[in-house]
């Protein structure tokens, strides 16, 4: 009798365990989980239920990347005064604001108000590269800027006295939400291509006049490291999603890694 009861409890426990663990295995995800949209760590989004049974995003259990948008416009604001090509000027273009992401702990705001107001900390006389004496911890990329091969420095992009802003060619400020205005200063061709809707990505409605969420530069590129070391590519490497299952009965995929030839000795790739 006790044995029987014990077995029953065990089965019950197993069933409970199964129920709790199963949803974690699929692409379906728990609410409140954090995933990234394009740049891991710099484009975070939290899974939320937008209507009963519907989530705002579905994330990959393998990589933590967003796979699917239930609401492509969640958390977006109007793109603002952008000169989108004529035929698309009637469209509703929105962007996800970058400020909340970049200024998560309100550091930028505090810096700007407390010290870098143009009075307390003097404005640098020249924009020449120099070794920073302070804030090496708060600006981790600062000493390792990989952008422009030494031809640009912090204040070519960041505003002198408004640390929550970027700067344009005339010294006016640009919002972090509109980095394209800054990047377009040098990368004109890419900027035009982006404006055409070719470079970069958009989500939402494909049709003419439809609402679109435009991805801005810093959502995909790290402006402090656009070289990515030896790769010299603007886009950082990502972890790929899992490979398809092998056909039944096949134990490995060596067949497709084989460099054929008489003297190749069956050297599989890698």
């Amino acid at each position: 009798m006790t044995c029987y009861r014990f077995r029953q409890t065990l089965i019950g426990l197993c069933l409970l365990l199964f129920l709790f663990t199963t949803p974690l295995l699929g692409t379906e995800n728990q609410t409140d989980q954090e995933c990234f949209e394009s740049r891991d760590g710099m484009s975070q989004v939290r899974v939320e239920e937008i209507s009963p049974g519907q989530v705002n995003v579905k994330c990959s259990s393998t990589t933590g990347g967003v796979l699917w948008w239930g609401d492509p416009f969640a958390g977006t604001i109007p793109m603002g005064d952008m000169d989108i090509e004529a035929d698309y000027s009637t469209e509703e273009a929105v962007v996800k604001p970058r400020e909340p992401e970049l200024d998560k702990n309100k550091m930028l705001t505090i810096c700007s108000m407390a010290c870098h107001d143009g009075n307390y900390v003097p404005i640098p006389h020249s924009k020449n590269p120099r070794r920073l004496k302070m804030h090496l911890d708060t600006v981790p990329d600062a000493l390792n800027l990989k952008h422009g091969k030494g031809n640009i420095w912090c204040l070519d992009c960041h505003h002198l006295v408004e640390r929550t802003k970027l700067i344009d060619n005339f010294g006016y400020s640009i919002s972090f939400n509109q980095p394209q205005k800054l990047c377009g200063k040098c990368h004109g061709q890419v900027y035009r291509s982006w404006r055409d809707g070719l470079h970069g990505k958009r989500i939402g409605m494909w049709d003419k006049g439809g609402k679109k969420r435009w991805w801005v530069c810093t959502e995909c590129h790290n402006p402090h490291d656009v070289e990515q070391g030896e790769r010299n590519s603007g886009f950082a490497q990502l972890r790929p999603e899992s490979a398809p299952n092998l056909p039944k009965g096949m134990t490995n995929a060596n067949h497709e890694r084989m460099h054929h030839g008489a003297h190749s000795d069956g050297n599989a790739h890698e």
Partner: protein, 342 residues
């Protein structure tokens, strides 16, 4: 035949008399017809497949009323099966639209997010037993050209025939593409990537060979399948030069909580055992104006989609400004899926 039944199917609490009649009917027909054998399957999901569904017409030949009834039947069944409100859309082809797709192979990093996004959107079977993915990504090697790999002596004497310098020590690109690559990080230094899916051909070989004409090309350019009319002969799979079609060899495994309840009759509604499926340009989204799941998910923006008839659309700009090619254009399939480079 399906004229009086839309009210009945909505009523899930069947009377005992109706139950009796149904099962009696099932047994009678099971003994006569192969198609109705399915009805006697003891699985509850199968039992809910209504009589009308089995004997409905080819979707293309249905009247609007019959289409609506077919859709309502499915909505009722799916809602019951998946435990949440499921909608089945029947939006017809869009006026003045010809869908086109462009993929930048220079940008693609081979991350396979499009593959998984497609599965999340389109209700494919998943899991170890039967995994169906509509997009496949090939890893193409860039090739190795080192002096050490060269052999300056040609074929060995013993082979008899001298065929030239380096023929038996391959250098450069040798592999024909890998499906199962799994590096830590992509893109890899020595590779580029080549995703493939249904090309939505203008002259689709799959449509030509379908003996029951259940797969056909809608005027907006999407090659669609009426799963209910598919007999599972797999002729289309053999005919497709792009390897775009997949077959449900077994009962599809689609967990209730992962099921996408926004479906289209000709697109991502749950499929059954024994039918063919493939990319439908996310017909449930695109005919409502929304981008496809793969376009939206691509982290490098390599995928573009739009109306080929609109001269200002992104797709037309790609065709005008970039270097474009189509896969296997020599077959005269006229794909509406373009590859391009910057």
């Amino acid at each position: 035949m399906p004229k009086q039944d839309s009210s009945k199917t909505k009523d899930n609490k069947l009377t005992s008399r109706r139950d009796f009649l149904r099962s009696a009917g099932n047994y009678t027909v099971a003994s006569l017809s192969g198609a109705a054998m399915l009805l006697s399957d003891p699985k509850p999901a199968k039992a809910n497949v209504t009589w009308e569904e089995h004997f409905q017409k080819n979707y293309r030949l249905m009247t609007d009323e019959e289409k609506q009834q077919a859709i309502e039947r499915l909505e009722t069944r799916y809602t019951e099966e998946y435990g949440k409100p499921v909608t089945v859309d029947g939006s017809p082809s869009m006026e003045g639209v010809l869908f086109g797709y462009a993929l930048n192979i220079q940008k693609c990093i081979g991350c396979r997010r499009c593959v998984k996004a497609c599965v999340a959107e389109n209700n494919q079977s998943r899991g170890d037993e039967q995994q169906i993915e509509w997009i496949r990504v090939l890893r193409m090697e860039k090739g190795k050209f080192s002096e050490a790999d060269r052999d300056q002596h040609g074929y060995p004497e013993s082979f008899g025939v001298q065929v030239g310098g380096n023929a038996y020590k391959p250098a450069g690109v040798v592999l024909e593409g890998q499906h199962y690559y799994e590096p830590e990080q992509v893109p890899e230094e020595d590779a580029f990537y080549f995703p493939m899916q249904c090309m939505q051909c203008e002259k689709p070989p799959c449509v030509k060979v379908c003996p029951v004409r259940t797969t056909y090309r809608d005027p907006d350019g999407i090659v669609v399948i009426d799963y209910n009319w598919c007999i599972g002969c797999r002729m289309c799979i053999g005919a497709c030069p792009y390897w775009a079609r997949r077959f449900n060899w077994g009962e599809p495994n689609l967990p209730k909580e992962e099921m996408n309840p926004v479906t289209h009759y000709l697109g991502n509604r749950p499929r059954m055992k024994g039918v063919v499926e493939k990319c439908s340009f996310c017909v449930q989204r695109t005919r409502k104006g929304r981008w496809t799941a793969c376009v939206e998910v691509c982290p490098v923006g390599a995928r573009k989609f739009g109306n080929l008839l609109d001269p200002n659309s992104e797709i037309r700009k790609v065709l005008a400004k970039k270097k474009v090619f189509r896969l296997r254009a020599d077959l005269n399939t006229y794909p509406k899926f373009f590859y391009y480079m910057d």
